[in-house]
Symmetry: C2
C-alpha cells in the first residue's frame, strides 16, 4: 500500500538525512520525491556513541515511519566516520561524488533499514570529506556538465575541482575554524566587534594584503591588536581585517582552484556572499549555486541510483 | 643604616619585579646589586584589578621590606598596561630599550615606592611590547655594541632590530598563541602528541615547506588530520608538522629581520633551541643569549640609570 498519509500521520516513502558533527537534519520523502516533512536536532556525531545513533534517529523520525513496512533511511555525513554509527570507507578521487557503495548500519528496530554514504578521500596531498560529496552530487544533478570549481566555505572550506561528472581533486582550508579560534580566544578578541559586524573597506584592504603577502600572516594578525590600542582601529574594522587576512591567505593557497575557472560557491548566504565578493575583488569569477538545498538533492539523486 | 639582614630577616635595598599577564616574579636586591631572594606567584595582570596590585605585591614581598625606610620597587611588564596597575605610556622607537620615564604607581603602604617602566611602541606597522624592552636592556648591558636582531620567542614572538644601543624597529608574530589554540582546540588536536613530543624530521620538513609555501598554510594545516586518518601519521610527527608549518611561516614573514644578520634568541631553553635550529636550517646564523636572566639584568640596569 502506497498511501503516505493515514489518519493525519505522515508516513515517509523513505527518509533522507544529513548527519554532521553537530546536527542531524532529515527529510521525509514521498513516493513522488516530494518533501513531506523536514526536521532537525542538535544531536551530531560529536556527541553520540555508536549505539546512540539509532535512538537519536527514532526520537526525531519515529512518527514519520509507516507501521507495516520497512522505511529506508539514507544518510550522508559524519555518521559514517570511524567514530560515527558505522564507518563507511572513503571512495578515492577521481570518481563521481556519490559513487561509493553505501554501508548498512546495524539497527534493532524492524521498521527501518539504514544505509550511510561514504565520503571521499585523496592521497597526495591527503585530504578527506564527508557530507560535502553529497552536496556535490546534488549540484551535479542540476548541472551535470559543469566544468570548474565548487567552493564550500564553512568551518573547513572545501575547494573541489569538477569535470566530466567527477571530482578530480580537492583541498580543505581550515579558515573558518581559525577565524573562530582567533576571534574568540586569542589576544585579538579584545579588539574585535562583539556582534560580528564587519567593515567592508577594512575587509577588502586586508584581503588584498593577505593575498599578496601570505608570509606576513602571523605578524599581520598580531598587528590588529596594536592598531586598536594605538590608532583606535574600530572593532568592525578589526573584524574585517581578521576575516580579510584569513580569506586572502586561503585564496592565495587555493589559487589553482579558481584562477581562470568558473567557481560556484555553496554555503550559508553570508559566507557565500563574502567568498563571491572576495573572489571577484581578486579577479576571479564566481556565482552562488541556484539551489541551496544541495545535501537533500544529493541524497535524492543517490537514492535514485541505488533504486536502479 | 645599610644592614640588609636583621634577626634572620632579609631586607632588600630595592625590589626588581617582572609583572606579566600571568605571573609576578620579583627579586630582592642588596646594596651591592646581589640577589638576596627570588619569588614568584601566579598573580598576573590578567587577573588583577588596579587596586589589587599593591596587595598582591605585599603578599609576595612584605617580609623583604625594611621596617624603617622606604624600599623602592621597579617593575617592568604588563603591570604598566592600560588594564594594569597604572598605565606607563609607551616610548616610541627608535629609542634605547629602557629610555622612557617610569611612572609612579599609587600606593597606600608607606614602606614602598613603586615605579613602572614603560613599554615600546611603533607606528607603521603598529606594534607594541611591554616587558621585552627590559630584557633587551639587560642584553645590551652585556653586549652594548650588538648590531643585529633579537628574537624573543613565546606566546607572542618579538623580532627586534638593534643597532647603536637602540631598538630600531620590531614586529610581533602570534605563532605561539596560534600553536596553542590550534593544537589544543582545533580538529587537529585528535592527531597530535598529547605530551608535546615532536618528531624532528617532520618538524624540519614542515619548516622548509611552510617557509617556501606560506600561502598554503590554511590547506597544509588541515592536511595534518587526513594524513593521520589515512596514512597513519604518528602523533609526534603531526606535532612536528604543526610546529614546523607555523615557525616556517613566521620565518618567511620575518625574513628581513634575520637574513644576513646576527640573531640572538632569548627564551625558554626548549623554544630557544627550536628557533636556533630552525634559523640554521634555513641558512641563518643564530645563538642563545649568554645570560638567560635578562629581565632581571634589565631592571638592574634601568635602576642604575634612575639612581643617576
Amino acid at each position: 500500500m502506497q498511501d503516505t498519509v493515514t489518519s493525519n500521520r505522515i508516513a515517509a516513502d523513505w527518509i533522507a538525512a544529513d548527519w554532521g558533527t553537530s546536527n542531524l537534519r532529515l527529510w521525509a520523502i514521498g513516493p513522488g520525491g516530494e518533501i513531506l516533512a523536514e526536521r532537525s536536532a542538535p544531536e551530531g556525531m560529536g556527541t553520540l556513541a555508536p549505539d546512540q545513533f539509532e535512538p537519536a534517529l527514532l526520537r526525531l523520525a519515529e512518527d514519520l515511519l509507516a507501521p507495516d513496512r520497512v522505511t529506508p533511511v539514507l544518510i550522508c555525513g559524519m555518521a559514517g566516520a570511524k567514530q560515527g554509527w558505522i564507518e563507511a570507507p572513503y571512495a578515492r578521487v577521481p570518481c563521481p561524488p556519490a559513487s561509493g557503495a553505501p554501508v548498512t548500519a546495524p539497527t534493532a528496530d524492524p521498521r527501518i533499514s539504514v544505509r550511510i554514504l561514504p565520503g571521499l578521500s585523496q592521497s597526495g596531498p591527503a585530504d578527506v570529506m564527508r557530507g560535502e560529496e553529497t552536496q556535490i552530487a546534488g549540484f551535479l544533478a542540476d548541472e551535470p556538465e559543469f566544468d570548474g570549481t565548487l567552493c564550500l566555505p564553512g568551518t573547513h572550506t572545501k575547494w573541489v575541482r569538477i569535470a566530466g561528472g567527477e571530482v578530480r581533486g580537492f583541498r580543505t582550508a581550515m579558515t573558518g575554524e581559525l577565524f573562530a579560534l582567533i576571534g574568540r580566544q586569542s589576544v585579538l578578541r579584545h579588539s574585535l566587534s562583539p556582534d560580528g559586524e564587519t567593515d567592508e573597506t577594512a575587509f577588502a584592504e586586508a584581503l588584498r594584503h593577505g593575498f599578496a603577502e601570505p608570509a606576513a600572516l602571523s605578524l599581520d594578525l598580531f598587528s590588529i591588536r596594536p592598531a586598536s590600542l594605538l590608532d583606535g582601529l574600530a572593532p568592525a574594522a578589526a573584524s574585517g581585517r581578521l576575516s580579510g587576512l584569513l580569506i586572502g591567505l586561503e585564496l592565495a593557497g587555493a589559487r589553482d582552484f579558481w584562477q581562470g575557472r568558473d567557481v560556484v560557491v555553496v554555503g550559508t548566504p553570508g559566507l557565500t556572499a563574502r567568498y563571491i565578493a572576495a573572489l571577484e575583488q581578486l579577479g576571479g569569477r564566481a556565482r552562488a549555486a541556484a539551489n541551496p538545498e544541495l545535501a537533500r538533492s544529493g541524497l535524492v539523486a543517490a537514492y535514485r541510483v541505488l533504486q536502479g
